[in-house]
């Protein structure tokens, strides 16, 4: 489990940030994206993927959440 931060970039897309490793990557897709259920599997543009427990959609971004690594980007 790792603390990650999800923020919005100027283009409106979601950006994944892992402070511990200074890893910043655009989020390609998010599994659940409805007001009641938000989160699930995050697919990153660098090939990695993380899992965030689904929760109600946060009122404001950025938000820090706990995430589990499903597949690491090679590095």
């Amino acid at each position: 489990m790792a603390n990650i931060m999800i923020r919005q970039n100027s283009a409106g897309g979601l950006v994944f940030y892992l402070p511990k490793r200074d890893l910043e990557a655009d989020i390609r897709s998010i599994e659940f994206d409805t007001p009641e259920k938000w989160g699930g599997e995050l697919k990153l543009e660098n090939g990695g993927s993380y899992y965030v427990d689904p929760m109600p959609k946060p009122a404001r971004l950025p938000i820090s959440v706990r995430a589990r690594r499903l597949g690491a980007a090679e590095d």
Binding site: M5, R7, Y17, D22, E45, N46, R60, A73, D75
Partner: protein
């Protein structure tokens, strides 16, 4: 020499790496790349933020340098204790020329070295008591300090001193913030982790101190983040921002104060100059206080204009007009600088190897002067820095991460730049090789280089270095005569 093509550069890298043993060669090859502007992400092409190879000459610093030297040191009314043996603090003292207004030793303390001067017995029996006594003495001798930070040097982490407990107790005693910073030099691979640790300690111990307190705000409050006022940089930036109608609440951390930092959560926009060293705190403020942050670049007219407009776009029409007014006012000044120096600098090639933001930020300023940056690299960048660099640099230029002394010299020999911008450790090597050199960490004792005022000085300095008559006098007269004689004979 004409600019290198992609194949030439590839061949050059292969040639330079030839001397390494296989394992080292494989590792170093990952840190060198040839720029391709079409790339979106640098990840596939360059590896960064990795431990330097044992046995090579690296130019990196340590976490203590990143925390004490860069982030905490320039806060003028706080005292940063170099907790540990005396050398770390003494040899790094005032080296970065973070200018400030104040009376040193009375209400400003940046240029002084406060240290617990560890001896053998402190290593054996622990230094906590000494630290407590030191804080007491500081409070007695320098009562106008606004707070204290304890910057750990390597032994503190190794012997397991509890500086947090001492700091908490001392803070209660003196009624001022005392911040323990766990920035032991052995942490991380370079100074970069020191920046992160320093940002985290600011977040944990300083930032929320004034939450809930009244503060008279305006809709135009901004904070300058990641500007360390080297040679007066932050002042040159601040002039432009204030002229366009913004109110600069805080400077982090060049010429900054503790009060300014505590008031930063009340601003409307964080302006981030050095992304590498302060993005952490910007991200935190964005999450906790909802303050957006913006990277800007105040090197050279093109980038200044671009940045001013970008900053203004966050505000209403009054500021947007202000930005246009500022641009209009200063354009003739900047054009005059270009008119004066461009003919003298046109077409010259530059190689850079610095840290933080400069390898990509100054590219625009060189281009405004008609110069071309043929190679650039960072000491301690991460991949997000390289993502940003790819877009600034020309195609087929060389990008090197944590370049070793040997590689850098070989690249210079092959690419023959007209000017090199790097640090003090490289300066005299290249002087001896006969290449004009500017020390770009602290502007070679000049500056400021930011903003409009800075650009004039930047252009003058580059001209002064490049066109210095001394470079024609490198061949000693006896060698010269022989050459002339030979010509005559022929």
């Amino acid at each position: 020499m004409a600019a290198l093509t992609r194949e030439d550069t590839e061949a050059l890298i292969a040639e330079v790496l030839e001397v390494y043993p296989d394992k080292a060669k494989k590792d170093r090859a990952k840190h060198l790349m040839i720029n391709d502007k079409t790339l979106e992400s640098s990840k596939k092409c360059i590896t960064s933020n990795r431990k330097s190879l044992p046995g090579v000459m690296t130019m990196r610093g340590c976490a203590y340098a990143g925390s004490k030297g860069v982030v905490w040191g320039p806060i003028k009314d706080m005292i940063s204790i170099s907790h540990g043996p005396i050398g770390c603090g003494q040899y790094a003292r005032a080296g970065r020329r973070n200018y400030y207004v104040g009376t040193t030793g009375v209400d400003a303390f940046c240029e002084m070295n406060f240290t617990s001067d560890f001896q053998e017995k402190d290593i054996v029996f622990g230094g906590d008591k000494k630290l407590a006594k030191l804080i007491e003495e500081i409070e007695m001798l320098f009562p106008l300090n606004k707070g204290i930070s304890v910057q750990s040097e390597c032994p503190i982490g190794l012997i397991g001193d509890d500086i947090e407990a001492v700091s908490k107790k001392a803070a209660a005693q003196i009624g001022k913030p005392v911040v323990p910073v766990r920035c032991e030099g052995f942490r991380g691979v370079s100074q970069s982790l020191g920046h992160h640790i320093a940002n985290d300690s600011v977040r944990d111990w300083i930032l929320s101190n004034r939450d809930g307190q009244a503060f008279e705000t305006t809709p135009y409050d901004v904070a300058i983040l990641g500007d360390y006022n080297i040679g007066g940089d932050a002042w040159a930036s601040r002039i432009l921002l204030e002229e366009m109608g913004l109110r600069v609440v805080a400077q982090w951390s060049g010429d900054g104060t503790l009060a300014e930092m505590e008031n930063t959560p009340k601003v409307k926009l964080n302006l981030l100059h050095c992304y590498r060293s302060m993005n952490y705190i910007s991200r935190h403020m964005e999450e906790k206080y909802g303050i957006p942050w913006l990277e800007y670049n105040f090197f050279g007219p093109t980038k200044i204009k671009e940045s001013l407009r970008k900053i203004a776009s966050f505000f209403d029409d009054k500021i947007k007009e202000g930005a246009e007014r500022v641009i209009e006012k200063y354009t003739p000044m900047m054009d005059a600088v270009i008119a004066k120096y461009r003919p003298r600098l046109e077409g010259k090639k530059v190689m850079l190897y610095v840290g933080g933001l400069r390898p990509r930020h100054v590219v625009g300023a060189y281009e405004d002067l008609g110069m071309e940056v043929v190679g650039t690299g960072y000491e301690f960048a991460h991949n997000d820095d390289y993502d940003r660099t790819i877009k600034e640099m020309g195609d087929a230029t060389l990008i090197y991460d944590d370049v070793t002394g040997y590689e850098f010299e070989e690249f210079v020999k092959a690419m023959k730049p007209d000017l090199i911008g790097s640090g003090i450790k490289e300066k005299y090597v290249f002087h001896k090789m006969g290449v004009p050199f500017r020390q770009l960490h602290s502007w070679d004792y000049s500056g400021p280089y930011h903003g409009v005022d800075g650009f004039a000085i930047f252009a003058r300095d580059m001209d002064m270095t490049l066109n210095n008559p001394c470079w024609t006098k490198l061949t000693p007269p006896w060698v010269k005569k022989e050459a002339v004689a030979e010509k005559k004979a022929a």
